[in-house]
């Protein structure tokens, strides 16, 4: 796929979590703050592209099912490395992500990559996911606490809608965001599940 194509068309047309119903767990669980959302999006993107690259040499040797297992283990290994790195560099961020950071390894997105998947497509999907997570987190953090990235925007007069930060609010915000996305963005290549 030519770089220009992914940059314009598919990157925004098939944003994971908003378009196709994949990667929902992180989209709901870590979008309580923009910082954790972007961090997890980045980790998932790296796992996505990295596991693809690591599994590439085995492509011609192994059948699809075995390749799936190789990709699974590669993703788990990459996520473990990133987890250790994050625990060293930013322990409070690692703590805020909780069990959802290791779960990036079995993200549906990481594993439903076909045998003919391209690296550029992987980068596009990873970027799309990170952007989607960031946008949902922006809405939730802003409505739920009046602050973004820890910086208070709406002052003392704002009574925050705490539900936006809790589990029910996560579902509601993501549902509305997905509806809005469908309204604004023309349908992709028909991969979105109705």
């Amino acid at each position: 796929m030519k770089p220009s194509r992914w940059a314009s068309a598919d990157f925004l047309r098939e944003m994971p979590a908003l378009g196709p119903a994949v990667a929902l767990c992180p989209a709901l669980a870590v979008t309580t703050s923009v910082r954790s959302a972007l961090a997890l999006g980045a980790v998932t993107a790296v796992a996505l592209v990295g596991s693809d690259l690591l599994a590439r040499p085995a492509r011609c040797l192994l059948p699809a099912r075995a390749l799936f297992a190789v990709r699974l283990v590669a993703a788990a290994a990459l996520v473990t490395l990133m987890e250790i790195g994050l625990a060293r560099r930013a322990p409070e961020l690692r703590a805020s992500l909780g069990i959802y950071l290791p779960l990036a390894a079995v993200n549906c997105l990481v594993l439903t990559r076909g045998a003919a998947s391209s690296v550029v497509e992987g980068v596009g999907l990873g970027a799309g996911l990170t952007l989607a997570l960031g946008l949902v987190a922006l809405a939730r953090e802003f409505v739920g606490s009046g602050a973004v990235w820890g910086r208070v925007i709406l002052g003392g007069g704002y009574n925050p809608a705490l539900i936006a930060l809790a589990a029910p609010g996560a579902f509601l915000v993501l549902g509305l965001a997905a509806g809005l996305y469908r309204l604004l963005v023309p349908a992709g290549r028909g991969r979105s599940k109705p």
Binding site: A21, V22, C25, L72, V79, I84, L103, A167, A170, G175
Partner: protein, 194 residues
């Protein structure tokens, strides 16, 4: 853990800390595939079986293999292999035992990479549950997952008759529905002491 404690753990895992509605795990299968009640029941049964098996096996992996070897950091890779292997085995068994069971084929591959099952194993690890507590927790978490999957599928069947706006049809309205269910389930909090 005493019988009282185990009972509280089980009830908590089904209602208070419900896997789907409170811990926000296992969403992709529930939202993406659970359209009919029969499918949801079948998917829930398989997830419960796999979650129980993975909980028990994960405890054994940690206690008898990783800790003696000092390889705690390989925990994620090990668990991922367990989940993949057991999920695959369960899918094959289900196909063999009940080939014409509803939902066979579509929902079941999701179980193999279900973040719900891995999530349960990670929670067990983090909470430091013993063998019995881990198994009970895995089983009850699976039951909680099945409960929500069946309820949501039933609601979605009803929803087919309702006038949903086009932009919200499918995944968005399901998420909003799940959000309302999560609000209802949050009423259970505080039910289990401690």
């Amino acid at each position: 853990m005493s019988l009282d404690g185990l009972f509280g753990l089980a009830l908590g895992a089904i209602l208070v800390n419900n896997l789907v509605l409170a811990r926000l795990l296992g969403l992709c299968p529930v939202v993406g595939c659970g359209r009919r009640t029969e499918d949801a029941l079948a998917m829930g049964a398989v997830v419960t079986a796999v979650a129980t098996a993975v909980s028990a096996a994960g405890f054994a992996l940690d206690r008898y293999l990783l800790t003696p070897l000092g390889a705690g950091h390989l925990g994620l890779v090990g668990l991922v292999c367990l989940v993949g292997g057991l999920g695959r085995a369960a899918t094959a068994l289900a196909a063999r035992v009940a080939p014409r069971a509803p939902g066979n084929g579509a929902a079941f591959p999701m179980v193999a990479v279900n973040c719900a099952v891995l999530g349960v194993a990670l929670i067990n690890r983090e909470a430091g549950f013993g063998a019995l507590a881990a198994t009970v927790h895995g089983f009850s978490a699976g039951l909680g997952f099945s409960l929500v999957a069946v309820l949501l599928a039933g609601l979605r069947e009803r929803l087919d008759l309702a006038p949903v706006p086009r932009a919200l049809q499918g995944v968005p309205i399901t998420l909003i529905l799940a959000g309302l269910m999560a609000m209802a389930f949050s009423g259970f909090s505080g039910m289990i002491a401690g």
